[in-house]
Assembly symmetry: C2
Homo-oligomer: 230 residues x 2
DNA sequence: CGTACTCTTGACATAGATCAATACAAGTGG
DNA sequence: CCACTTGTATTGATCTATGTCAAGAGTACG
């Protein structure tokens, strides 16, 4: 399922915000203790309750983190892109158990660094831990916002808010390329695919957006769209 | 509204998990740069968007952190007890703005430490930042769990889950003393006071709990209660 | 002891979940 | 490169949990 490569220099260290302030020499030292691992699409990298003591850094591809409730519904927590890391729960707390699930949503290459090694680097280069803290703090902020949205806002507002975070502009076209399937978007926004589908259709009927393909959505008037949600 | 005291030794440093591994001398050094501030019940310590660059440590009393959505509904994010800290968003990220609201839910005394001073201590005593990271990581985990619950679970399950985290035992009595008003509980669980009220009544009718006072709730059979939610 | 919350209960409205059937898209193997 | 299979997306019909509005009861506090 997962197959291993060994390089003397592992590229991913160089790309990652938590390490890229280091010099070449320092980075290649760290790289030596990192294992590169590949996963195919849909592979489960780890599950809730798994004992583990490595930090995962995404080198290539995308990973989805989610939780399961008792009735088996999934709540997507976040999507990791290259340069993002995960598994810090297992590293920075005394109990080394994962609290959620990580799934490859494309072919993925990952660098894994052991807790023990990581601790050495944290001691040697204190800037690393500051960057990690900054990242985790940011994520806490995002997570708290997501909690509020999921608990208090109508689905339509959540969608609009989500879209507004992914808008791009190009020669007076405003559009969004959804970073995940609508199924996963539903899970991220705490609703069902059916409801997502209906709400997108509703926005389209109101003339606010146009769905060119399932993932490519044109936005006619962003301000009006934002206004309509409040 | 808030009145200031100056002590050469500020007690709160001693009590706080992120500092209490330091020796007396180190703690009193830090204490010297900490300001103790008192707030009365219902005072707002800070609001979303406020520029600020201090870390807040709760010395006495309880503080509620919440967010507001556009329609003015509050989502309670967490309740701080003595020893807990907040405001790390403003400290550990480059932009020094609060992203949520903090309100005293009792009379409160707080220690405030400036970003600049804090950074010095982080450099001098690296263990502090590790403890902070561990705390923030833990909170991220809790927040992600809360997101899932608010998004995916029925209100009754959320209540039961909440109760199960606060159960105490005493001479074959199982009970919960609610750490906040039902109004605030509603906000924490992403619902309304009315719904909370109804669900508690429903649990009582099913013979699973008995509400002796508004905040003191006896639980007859915890296992059965937990079972009934799944 | 009365003013002001918080809490409870009722009646009613509705957003969104669920179930089911069909259409679309993408990936696979011949 | 085209059938075929599998998963994703859409749309409709129905059901239900929970929100909203309103009125009364309980509690706490000055």
């Amino acid at each position: 399922m997962a197959h291993h490569h060994h390089h003397s220099h592992v590229d991913c260290i160089r790309l990652v915000p938590i390490f890229n302030h280091l010099n070449e020499e320092q980075m290649s030292l760290i790289a030596q203790s990192a294992h590169e691992v590949h996963y195919e699409k849909n592979a489960l990298l780890f599950g809730s309750g798994d004992k583990d003591d490595t930090l995962y850094i995404v080198n290539n591809g995308r990973v989805r983190i989610y939780n399961l409730n008792e009735s088996g519904r999934e709540q997507t927590v976040r999507i990791l892109n290259p340069g993002d890391f995960m598994g810090e729960v297992a590293i920075f707390q005394t109990e080394s158990y994962h609290s959620n699930y990580a799934e490859a949503i494309s072919e993925v290459s990952i660098c894994r660094i052991h807790k023990k090694d990581m601790n050495d680097y944290l001691d040697a280069y204190p800037e690393i831990i500051r960057r990690i803290l900054s990242d985790v703090t940011k994520r806490l902020q995002v997570s708290e916002k997501q909690t509020m949205q999921v608990g208090m806002e109508q689905v339509e507002s959540r969608i609009i808010d989500f879209l507004s975070e992914y808008v791009e502009n190009e020669e007076n076209h405003t559009y969004v390329t959804l970073p995940m399937s609508k199924k996963d978007l539903a899970s991220y926004l705490g609703t069902t695919p059916e409801t997502i589908s209906r709400k997108f259709s509703a926005l389209e009927e109101k003339g606010l957006i146009k769905q060119h393909t399932h993932k490519y959505i044109e936005i006619f008037d962003l301000d009006e769209l934002l206004f309509s949600s409040s």
